[in-house]
Symmetry: C2
Subunit: 124 residues, 2 copies
DNA sequence: TATTTAATGCGAATAAGTCGCAATTAAGTA
DNA sequence: TACTTAATTGCGACTTATTCGCATTAAATA
């Protein structure tokens, strides 16, 4: 299924590219200058995830946040790393800290989600 | 606010005590032999969390899972540790692996949620 | 310019979790 | 043991995040 370039896609991508933080759908919708339907934003984001252009983090608020990760881009593959969600400014940022874990035999990992929650340096 | 012993509370607590896995509200409701209202189950679980009797994990499916953690009990305080969610048997278990991270200056952590997703040894 | 099919908007649907409120009941006290 | 009070429950409605179906629009390419 070939992907097409559309205003919605470009707007979301450029917003994420210029953001150092992971954004939720409603944050994206608010920050966009053009009006894009809620469902469309989700579809655009999920397509980006499928194409490994952005990665999705689910925080302990149960919401999805999306980010283009510099680290992932540099190494050209998705790296599991910690995220920090600030309760004050309600944003999530990718930390440098990589995720390390030991796994009992027979377990296969497909994904790792690690989110620290608290107050970031800007807000404290 | 003093806590009371009720059938609902005891049923949920005994179910969690006998389970090695973290359970979601609907899993708990299904496994209980007595009928307890959905809202009540949530309230019981949240009270347990407030009292540090169970801990809550939010997985990347956005759902809340609740567990009594042996490790936490032994050390008598909540320890951040990795969790493993099996996509096949849809359960979450507490792993031994403790969570270690480096944090930039000025950040304050209140909570850490780390979930690995994949297939557990039973299911693979 | 015409064709094809991916992408969009809209509204409805789903699912998890919470809330208000009246009714119930555990637990302390007379 | 009966009485009191405040914690707990059940119910139904509500919220919020996300998805889905479907008709319509519009990229891309021949």
């Amino acid at each position: 299924m070939k992907r097409r370039n559309t205003p919605a896609k470009e707007a979301v991508l450029s917003l994420l590219s210029n953001s150092k933080k992971a954004l939720s759908q409603d944050a994206i919708e608010k920050e966009l200058s053009i009006n894009i339907n809620r469902a469309t934003i989700y579809r655009v984001l999920n397509r980006f995830c499928d194409d490994n252009i952005v990665h999705k983090i689910v925080a302990e608020d149960g919401k999805q946040y999306f980010a283009i990760c510099r680290k992932c881009e540099e190494t050209n593959k998705v790296q599991y790393h910690f995220h920090f969600r600030c309760l004050s400014c309600d944003s999530i940022e990718c930390l440098e800290t990589p995720v390390n874990y030991l796994l009992p035999n027979g377990y296969k990992v497909q994904n790792a989600t690690c989110v620290l929650t608290g107050v970031c340096n800007n807000c404290s």
